[in-house]
């Protein structure tokens, strides 16, 4: 799933400075699961804005709505009747949401309330970790089912580098050296020969480096 983190309240308050009518829009998709953008977070942000503005002696009107998702036009359409009542729209969805709202409602002033971080999953309650960098050409089967592109700080295809330190990455003890795991697993499974194969340079054409991407499914698209 897409994992995001909430922007600090201070930053959001600075963004909506001077607006009296603010619509807070949540999303029931990934951001609900990672506790930053669901109905619960919408209510919290709305309440926080009211309190902060009240403290400055300002009365603001804060609308709260949570869409099924913000990455399908039909749900963005549901804002049609209420969006013009507001001067600013704060979207708690991943980076897709605020842009879909801006595209559909060009005059609306749209602000992101979360920082979208990575594609990953929950390693324990309240902790999510990156697993995929969306490079467009999956090769984890070469590496014992683990992806060095997303999980090695240097995306090495022929790791580990000299900085692997007790199973941790030289960059930080918080980051596991994925190559330490790959090597130990494949050697334990007697697949040393695969490790000795020199992986050729990767084509980054399919990744973000090849330019913004679009996926067309001929059998589905009109």
């Amino acid at each position: 799933m897409i994992v995001a983190e909430a922007k600090p309240i201070k930053e959001i308050l600075e963004m909506i400075e001077g607006f009296n009518k603010i619509l807070v829009v949540g999303c029931k998709g990934c951001v609900t699961v990672c506790n930053v953008g669901g109905a619960k977070e919408v209510a919290i942000l709305a309440s926080a804005i009211r309190i902060a503005e009240k403290k400055k002696g300002k009365e603001v009107e804060v609308g709260e709505i949570t869409l099924e998702r913000q990455c399908d036009p039909e749900y963005i359409e549901e804002l049609k009747d209420i969006i013009q009542d507001y001067e600013a729209v704060v979207s708690l969805a991943c980076g897709v949401g605020p842009q879909f709202i801006s595209e559909r409602y060009p005059e609306a002033r749209v602000f992101p309330a979360v920082n979208t971080k990575f594609m990953g999953g929950a390693v324990e309650h309240g902790v999510w970790a990156e697993r995929c960098a969306g490079c467009g050409q999956c090769v984890i089967h070469y590496f014992g089912g683990m992806c060095p592109i997303a999980r090695c700080s240097k995306s090495l295809m022929n790791g580990p580098c000299g900085g692997s330190n007790h199973g941790k990455c030289e960059v930080s003890p918080e980051i596991d050296c994925i190559w330490d795991k790959i090597v130990r697993k494949m050697m334990a499974q007697g697949r040393l020969d695969e490790l000795l194969k020199i992986r050729p340079p990767k084509s980054w054409l399919t990744a973000r480096d090849g330019g913004p991407r679009k996926m067309v499914r001929e059998e589905l698209a009109k």
Binding site: I9, K10, L13, I44, I51, K55
Partner: protein, 133 residues
């Protein structure tokens, strides 16, 4: 100037804290009129939103009374609540509100007197801090 009467909301759980409250009643001790009590099965039930809503609706001070960290009947309710209180304190600071307006306490069941002491302590702190808005 009319003397400032602070509005205080207190959440308390129905185990250690409420038995302490009952004892304080039996001791003939009563809470100051400014403090309004809200009962929850466990402090772990209280969310960040509930704490914020109390402030939004005019509370000058909010505090929570729960069990000891190792004797919560629901094991980690008070621990979860303490983390949420810390988070809300950080939010309050960013919103320009004094974080001391929010507090959490761990009580033993028998501590009737403490239940009232806490209430008075919160009342005094509210008076010092003055109205929230």
């Amino acid at each position: 100037m009319q003397e400032f009467k602070p509005k205080i909301v207190a959440f308390y759980c129905s185990n250690c804290a409420s038995s302490a409250a009952e004892i304080s009643n039996k001791l003939g001790l009563f809470l100051p009129e400014n403090i309004k009590l809200i009962n929850v099965p466990c402090t772990g039930r209280i969310e960040i939103l509930h704490l914020l809503k109390a402030f939004e609706n005019g509370a000058d001070m909010v505090y929570v009374v729960g069990c000891q960290e190792d004797s919560c009947q629901y094991i980690n309710g008070i621990l979860k609540l303490k983390k949420r209180v810390a988070h809300v304190k950080n939010m309050l600071e960013q919103m320009g509100i004094e974080p001391q307006r929010l507090e959490v306490f761990s009580l033993y069941a028998g501590k009737g007197q403490d239940f009232v002491n806490i209430a008075n302590e919160m009342l005094n702190r509210a008076k010092q801090l003055g109205p929230i808005y």
